[in-house]
Every structure is written in C-alpha cells, then in structure tokens.
Symmetry: C2
Subunit: 136 residues, 2 copies
Amino acid sequence: MSDLLVRLRGRGWRLTAQRRVVAEVLDGDHVHLTADEVHARAVQRLPEISRATVYNTLGELVGLGEVMEVATDGRARRYDPNAHRPHQHLVCSGCGTIRDVQPAGDPLADLPAEQRFGFAVATAEVTYRGICPDCA
Amino acid sequence: MSDLLVRLRGRGWRLTAQRRVVAEVLDGDHVHLTADEVHARAVQRLPEISRATVYNTLGELVGLGEVMEVATDGRARRYDPNAHRPHQHLVCSGCGTIRDVQPAGDPLADLPAEQRFGFAVATAEVTYRGICPDCA
DNA sequence: TCCTACGATGGACGGATTCCAAGTCAAGAA
DNA sequence: TTCTTGACTTGGAATCCGTCCATCGTAGGA
C-alpha cells in the first residue's frame, strides 16, 4: 500500500498523518470495512482522528479510483481497497462475510444491445449471495 | 396489479385502504421508487397514510415475494414490483434512472467452483452502470 | 350489529452520513 | 530555519433513512 501513498502524492495530495493511517487500515485482501470500522482501527493508531476525516478520506480515495465502494445491503457502505483488479463479490446471507471473486467471462458482454436502451454501459457489478461454510 | 390484491387476500391479508393504495402506487414497468416516494404518491390518494404504514406494507410485500428490494447505491432502498420475472438492473450514473434488463445467460453459471470458497451460492444480482440517452 | 385481533398512526429513536465554522498544519518560498 | 497560506482536520449539529412503540381504529368473522 506504500505505492498508494506515493501515487497520491504524485496527484498533489497533501500527505497527512490521518490520510496515511486510513490508507494503512485499508491494506490487505478481502478487506471490506465500513467507515465506522475504518475509524475504529484508525483511532488505535491515531487517537485524535475524527470520523469526518475518515469519511472525507474514503470519499477522496473512491474519487481517485483507489478504493471501491460496495453496497451489499441497505446498511452501511463498505470500502474495498482491491480496486485495480476487476472482481465481484460473494456475500454470506448468514453472517455477511464478503469475499472477492473472479467469475469467468465478462458480465458486460452478457447484456445484448437491444437490452441497453441507448445507454452507454460502462460497468457491471455482480453480487453473489449464498451461505458460507461456517454458517451452513 | 389487481391480481396482487386477490393473491394477498388469499394469503390471509386483511385488505385495508392503505395496503391497496401502496399496491396501486407500485403498479407498472420499470418502477423503482424509494419508500419516501411511495409515501408521497400514496398521500395523494389517501392523505392520512403514515410513513410507518408504507414501510410496514413494503416490508410485507417483500417478505411475500411480491416486490423486490433494490440497493443500487448506498442511499435509500428502492422497491421493484417486477418480482416474478428474473431480471437485472441498468442504472444511469448521471440521473439515477433505473431500467429492468434481461442479460443473456445465467450469471450464476459464470462463477467457477474454485471461486465459491465452499459457499452454497444461491443468487446473483447484476447492476449495470452507464449513461442514459438523456444524460449523454 | 358486535367483537376483537390485526393493522394504522405519529412521534421518538438510532445509525449512517453530510455539513459547517473554526482551528491546525504540510510543504513550498524566502 | 522560519514564514505563509491554503488545504486539511475537527467535533458537533444537521439530515436522511429506517425502526420501534404505545395507542387508536377498523376489517371481517360470529
């Protein structure tokens, strides 16, 4: 994730302790934290960091394409640092665990022209739902 | 949608003016209203109807499988009366308009076994995003 | 027509997110 | 190194979405 900080600086980001901590917290695979969870972990490293800053930073990272927003339920949004490799999500209906998955083929290709209603279609997000081994 | 009311009565539903109005408001194709929008339209026909009743009724319709809940963004849930024909959604990134679409093939089939992590996968929801003709 | 259990009401509540005015500080200039 | 300034952070208020609850009303069977 240190590449990220370098990349952000290259884009004119002011490198603050708060932003560094948020970026560190989001490091890893299959990470899908809510803003509150990011804040809770950030506070461990930087006790004064405010929730507003966490929201601001997450929003900026999303705007820059460095982090994906995931809305798998009607509740809190989750943030996924795995934004550079295309992937979809598999969600457990029991416990809510999320895994990154890579389906075969391109879901975009499955939408025929006559089903596009003149839209310029850019992306396809797939959410698979099922029961995970722990909940079964 | 009159079938719906008949069906619901068959399931032991008490048929109140409020429930009838909510069902009427949800009639049509490509309808994806938020609970608040449903309430606003219901009030036109039945001024005393409360938000709580709209939420209750929508929740019941979802539980009965007569209406689908759609979460295309991290904001308000939307309610889709087209629950009996399987379909996916195409969302305009500009104005938020939603169309029901039917991709070719079954998205579930695209998830290979080794990408299922032991989950019993049951459903796949696809959200296509792009720019609609009006916003282009 | 009467009863009563189910449904409706609206106001309080709670979680998630955004907004805002005031204070702070990273980083380039001197 | 110090200065300067505009970008960043802060915390609390505000907003939006949804749920809960005690009370009142009524659909539909007896």
